[in-house]
C-alpha cells in the first residue's frame, strides 16, 4: 500500500514534469511533419510563459494570459515561417535566433513593465490555473488501489495538464484521420507531390506553424501560470531542447512521442526521489551522479532499443520547385 502510494506520487510528478514536454514536443511534431525543423521550441515556450504571466497578472485572469501566450507564440511561429517558409532561410539558425532573442526579450519587457528585474510579479490565487479535483476523487480516495490511483494520479491536476494529455490523441486523429493531416504528412515527406496536387506548400507549412505556436503558447502558460506562479528569466531551462529530443525519440509520431516525454519526466521524477537516499548495493551517491540518471538512461534506451529514427524526409529543406 505504501509502495503504491510512492509509485502514484512519482507518477503524478511525472505527469506534471511531462506536461510542458508533451505540449512542446507535439508542437514540434506539427511543424516538423510539415517540413519545418523547430529548434525554437524553447524560445516560443519561454515567450509564451512571459506573456501568460504578464497578462494574467495585469488582468487577473489566467485565461487571458493563456490567450496572450498563444497569440505571442503564434506571432513568433509566423516569424519563423516568414524566415524559413517564405524566404527559405535556414531553419536551424532561425530556431537558434528565436531562442536567443526571446531569452533577452522577456526580461527586457518584464523590466520595463513591472520594474522587478527580469521577472513578473508573483501570481496568486485566481491569477493562476488551479488544480482540479475530479468528481468522486474525495469519495473514492480510500478505495484501495483504484481510489489511490484515481485520487493521486488522475485527479488533482490543473486544466492544462488535461489539455496536454488530450492533445496527443487529438493530434493523432488530426494527423491520420483528417484531410489536413494527410496533407501535412505529405508536405513534410514530399512537398512537390503536394504542390502538383494543387495544394500550397507554404500554406500548409504556415498552418502547421500556427498549431505549433498554439501548443508552445499553452506550454509557456503552463510554466508560468499553472505549474509555476510567475515568469522568471530562462525559466524554460532547456525543456524545449528536451522536447525536441523526445520528438525524435518518438519518431515524429504522437503516441511514441508522448511515451518519450513521459520517460524523460519519469526519469527526472525518480531522480528527484533517490537523491540523497542511499542506493542498494552502492550506498550514498553524490547528487550530481543521481542527476545524470535521466540522461544516461535516455542514451541507453535510445541506443539499446529504439534504434534509428528517420524524420520526415523534407524536414529542414526549404521547398524550391524542381522537376
Amino acid at each position: 500500500m505504501d509502495n503504491l502510494n510512492d509509485i502514484v506520487t512519482i507518477l503524478a510528478s511525472t505527469v506534471r514534469l511531462g506536461t510542458p514536454l508533451i505540449l512542446c514536443a507535439i508542437a514540434g511534431l506539427f511543424s516538423e511533419r510539415s517540413g519545418v525543423v523547430d529548434m525554437g521550441l524553447e524560445g516560443k515556450m519561454l515567450g509564451g510563459a512571459f506573456l501568460a504571466a504578464s497578462v494574467a497578472y495585469l488582468t487577473g485572469s489566467p485565461w487571458l494570459g493563456l490567450l496572450a501566450a498563444i497569440g505571442f507564440s503564434i506571432a513568433i511561429s509566423m516569424l519563423h515561417g516568414y524566415a524559413c517558409v517564405t524566404l527559405n532561410g535556414d531553419q536551424v539558425v532561425t530556431g537558434v535566433a528565436i531562442n536567443i532573442m526571446i531569452a533577452g526579450f522577456g526580461p527586457t519587457f518584464a523590466f520595463s513593465w513591472f520594474n522587478l528585474g527580469g521577472r513578473t510579479p508573483n501570481l496568486s490565487g485566481g491569477q493562476r490555473f488551479k488544480d482540479i479535483t475530479l468528481p468522486l476523487a474525495d469519495t473514492l480516495k480510500d478505495v484501495p488501489v483504484i481510489g489511490t490511483i484515481y485520487d493521486g494520479l488522475i485527479s488533482g491536476h490543473n486544466i492544462l495538464v488535461y489539455v496536454a494529455f488530450a492533445v496527443v490523441p487529438l493530434s493523432w486523429w488530426v494527423l491520420y484521420k483528417t484531410r489536413f493531416g494527410l496533407r501535412l504528412r505529405a508536405v513534410g515527406e514530399n512537398p512537390s507531390a503536394v504542390d502538383v496536387a494543387g495544394i500550397s506548400v507554404r500554406g500548409m507549412r504556415y498552418q502547421a506553424l500556427v498549431i505549433n505556436g498554439v501548443l508552445c503558447g499553452i506550454a509557456g502558460a503552463y510554466l508560468s501560470t499553472a505549474h509555476g506562479a510567475g515568469f522568471i528569466r530562462d525559466m524554460s531551462a532547456g525543456k524545449g531542447y528536451l522536447a525536441l529530443a523526445a520528438l525524435i525519440f518518438g519518431k515524429w509520431k504522437p503516441g511514441p512521442t508522448l511515451a518519450a516525454c513521459l520517460l524523460f519526466a519519469f526519469a527526472d521524477a525518480v531522480q528527484v526521489r533517490i537523491q540523497g537516499v542511499p542506493l542498494p548495493f552502492i550506498g550514498m551517491v553524490p547528487s550530481s551522479f543521481v542527476q545524470m540518471i535521466p540522461y544516461v538512461l535516455t542514451v541507453l534506451v535510445l541506443a539499446g532499443f529504439v534504434g534509428k529514427s528517420v524524420g520526415p524526409k523534407a524536414a529542414g529543406i526549404p521547398y524550391v520547385k524542381e522537376r
Binding site: Y176, K177, T178, R179, F180, G181, L182, R183, R185, A186, E189, N190, S192, A193, V194, D195, V196, A197, G198, I199, S200, K313, K321, R323
Partner: protein, 525 residues
C-alpha cells in the same frame, strides 16, 4: 473536381484541346523556352521529342502551372486560361505525370490518389468514395493497382499507374506524360500504350514526351520537335520517319543502331557460381545464379526490373554481401573474403561499376563535376600529393573526360546537379571506362539519355570490348540489350531463366523468358 466540357473528338474542325502561343521562359539567363507555339488536337496523342535539356519538361510544367511563363498565352479548348498553379491546371482539366514521380513514398496508393481532392474534412468518407471510384477506373482502363499498398514497395511501373490514376481521378481531359517509359519494361510499356490508346478512344487528349522514336512512331498521331528551347518542327506521325525525326532533334544524321563486329572472347574474367543474395529485409533476391563473362565480350542481363539484377550487380561490385556461392574474379574466389569483395578493393583490382541510379549512387549531386569524376578513385596516387589532393590533376583529368565524352557544359567546376541527366551519365561512364577496368559492370547505361548520347555511349562500350575488356550490362531496355550484347542472360525472380547468343535473340523470345518461361526447355518438355 471541375472539368472543362469535353469536345467530341470526331469533329474535324474542333478547337485545339490545348494551344500555346509565343510562350517564353527564362531560368536566370537561360532562355529555356523561346516563343513556343503548339496546338494539340482533342482526342489525339501528341508526341514531343527533343534532346536532353531542349526544354520539353519546362514547357509542359508551364502548362501544368508548376512553373509560370514569362510571357505568352495558354488556351484550353480555345479559351485563354491563366494557369499559375497546378490547381488552375487541374481546374482546366489538365493532368500531368511528371518525369520524376511526384508521389509520397510512405503513403498508400489510395492516399496518394486522393491527396488534394479528399472530398471533405475527414478522411474516412473520402477514402471510401475514392476506393470505389478507383475500382471503377481500374475496371474501365485495366489499370490494376492494389489501393492499400505503400508506394515505396511498388515497382516503378505500378508507381506510374498510380500517377495516371491520380490524373484520371481528378477528371483530367488532357493528360501530359513526361518520359513515362524511361523506367518501364517492354511489357509495362505495351500495357501503358494500351491504356493510352483506350483513353484516346474515350476522347481524352494525351501529350507524351519521350526520347524513344519507336514509341513515337507506334503511338502518336502528331509529333512536335524541340531543340535548344525552340519548337523546330511539327509532323503528322504517319508522314515522317524515325530518321527524319532524329535529324530534326539533333540537327545532324544519327545512327540509330551502332554497327558492331563479331566478338573475340578471351579468358574468363568473371565466373559466378550458385550465387545467392539476401537483402536487408531478409528476402532472397538472387537465387543460385551462375554465369560467366569473358574478356572481349559484352554479356547482357535482361529482365523486368526487380527480378534480382540490381542485387546481383550490387553483390558483384561489393556493395551487398552475398549469402552463399562463388564469385571468381580472374580465377580467384572472392565471395567469402570481405577484404577482397568490397567496393574499394574491387576497384583497385580492376572492376569498374556504373550504377543503375546515377543520381543516388553514381554521383554526389552537390559535388563539383571534377569531384564526382573521381568518386571511388579519389585515393589513387594520381589524384593525391602526400596528404593533399592534387586539384590540378583532378581538374585536368575531368577536362579530359569532358572533352572525350562531349559532356556539356564543359566546365569541370560546375556542380554535378547542374548537368542534365544525360550528361551526368556520360560523366559516370567516363570515370568508370577511363580508369580502364578489366571488368566493367554497368546498370542501365542509357536511362533517360537522348539518342545522340546513346549512340556515343554504345560505340564507346563496343570500342572497349574490342580492346579486350569484359563487360556485364544490366538493362531493362530490350533494344539496348540486343544491340549491345554478344550473349544475353535473362533473369526472372532471382533466377537465371536461360542464356542465348544475341544473334538468336528477338523480342518475342526474350519477352517470354523475362516472364520466366524458357522456350528451349518448354520445347524439350
Amino acid at each position: 473536381m471541375t472539368s472543362a466540357p469535353n469536345k467530341p473528338a470526331s469533329k474535324a474542325a474542333a478547337l485545339p484541346a490545348l494551344e500555346l502561343r509565343k510562350v517564353n521562359k527564362w531560368f536566370g539567363t537561360n532562355h529555356a523556352n523561346r516563343d513556343i507555339d503548339l496546338a494539340v488536337q482533342p482526342g489525339t496523342i501528341h508526341g514531343i521529342i527533343g534532346e536532353n535539356g531542349a526544354g520539353k519538361s519546362t514547357i509542359m510544367s508551364i502548362v501544368y502551372g508548376f512553373y509560370s511563363a514569362d510571357s505568352g498565352e495558354v488556351l484550353v479548348n480555345g479559351t485563354p486560361v491563366t494557369i499559375t498553379s497546378p490547381k488552375d491546371a487541374l481546374a482546366a482539366g489538365i493532368g500531368m505525370v511528371h518525369q520524376h514521380f511526384k508521389l509520397v513514398d510512405n503513403f498508400t496508393v489510395l492516399e496518394n490518389v486522393i491527396l488534394g481532392v479528399e472530398g471533405g474534412m475527414k478522411l474516412a468518407a473520402g477514402m471510401a468514395r475514392a476506393r470505389a471510384e478507383l475500382e471503377r477506373l481500374e475496371r474501365e482502363y485495366g489499370l490494376e493497382v492494389s489501393p492499400d499498398s505503400v508506394v515505396e514497395d511498388l515497382p516503378v511501373g505500378i508507381q506510374q499507374r498510380v500517377e495516371i490514376l491520380k490524373a484520371l481521378y481528378r477528371g483530367a481531359d488532357t493528360l501530359i506524360l513526361d518520359e513515362p517509359t524511361g523506367v518501364l519494361t517492354p511489357q509495362e510499356v505495351d500495357e501503358l500504350f494500351r491504356i493510352l490508346r483506350q483513353l484516346r478512344e474515350q476522347g481524352k487528349t494525351i501529350i507524351i514526351i519521350t526520347h524513344k522514336l519507336g514509341e513515337v512512331m507506334a503511338l502518336t498521331d502528331r509529333v512536335s520537335v524541340m531543340r535548344r528551347g525552340e519548337m523546330v518542327a511539327h509532323r503528322q506521325t504517319a508522314e515522317t520517319s524515325k530518321e527524319e525525326l532524329a535529324e530534326l532533334m539533333v540537327g545532324r544524321k544519327v545512327l540509330l543502331r551502332v554497327a558492331k563486329g563479331p566478338a573475340n572472347p578471351g579468358a574468363t574474367v568473371l565466373k559466378i557460381d550458385g550465387l545467392n543474395v539476401i537483402d536487408g529485409q531478409g528476402v532472397r533476391r538472387v537465387k543460385d545464379v551462375s554465369l560467366d563473362v569473358r574478356a572481349g565480350e559484352i554479356v547482357g542481363i535482361a529482365g523486368v526490373s526487380g527480378n534480382g539484377q540490381s542485387e546481383l550487380l550490387q553483390a558483384l561490385s561489393g556493395i551487398m554481401k552475398p549469402a552463399s556461392g562463388q564469385i571468381l574474379y580472374k580465377g580467384e574466389d572472392i565471395a567469402g573474403d570481405p577484404a577482397k569483395l568490397n567496393a574499394r578493393a574491387l576497384r583497385k583490382a580492376g572492376v569498374g561499376h556504373v550504377p543503375e541510379d546515377r543520381q543516388r549512387e553514381g554521383l554526389v549531386m552537390s559535388f563539383l563535376a571534377a569531384e564526382s569524376a573521381i568518386l571511388g578513385y579519389h585515393d589513387l596516387p594520381a589524384y593525391n600529393r602526400g596528404i593533399l589532393m592534387d586539384r590540378d590533376a583532378i581538374i585536368a583529368e575531368t577536362q579530359r573526360y569532358i572533352e572525350k565524352y562531349d559532356v556539356r557544359p564543359t566546365s569541370p567546376t560546375y556542380k554535378s546537379s547542374n548537368f542534365s541527366g544525360g550528361n551526368q551519365q556520360k560523366l559516370v561512364l567516363a570515370r568508370e571506362i577511363e580508369n580502364d577496368p578489366d571488368l566493367l559492370l554497368i546498370g542501365q547505361p542509357t536511362r533517360g539519355v537522348d539518342i545522340g548520347a546513346i549512340e556515343f555511349i554504345h560505340s564507346r562500350l563496343i570500342e572497349m570490348r574490342d580492346a579486350g575488356k569484359a563487360i556485364l550490362v544490366v538493362s531493362t531496355e530490350l533494344d539496348e540489350v540486343m544491340s549491345l550484347s554478344d550473349r544475353i542472360v535473362v533473369m526472372f525472380d532471382g533466377h537465371v531463366v536461360g542464356e542465348l547468343p544475341a544473334s538468336e535473340a528477338d523480342e518475342r523470345i526474350l519477352g517470354l523468358m523475362m516472364a520466366g518461361i524458357d522456350p528451349k526447355k518448354n520445347q524439350a518438355a
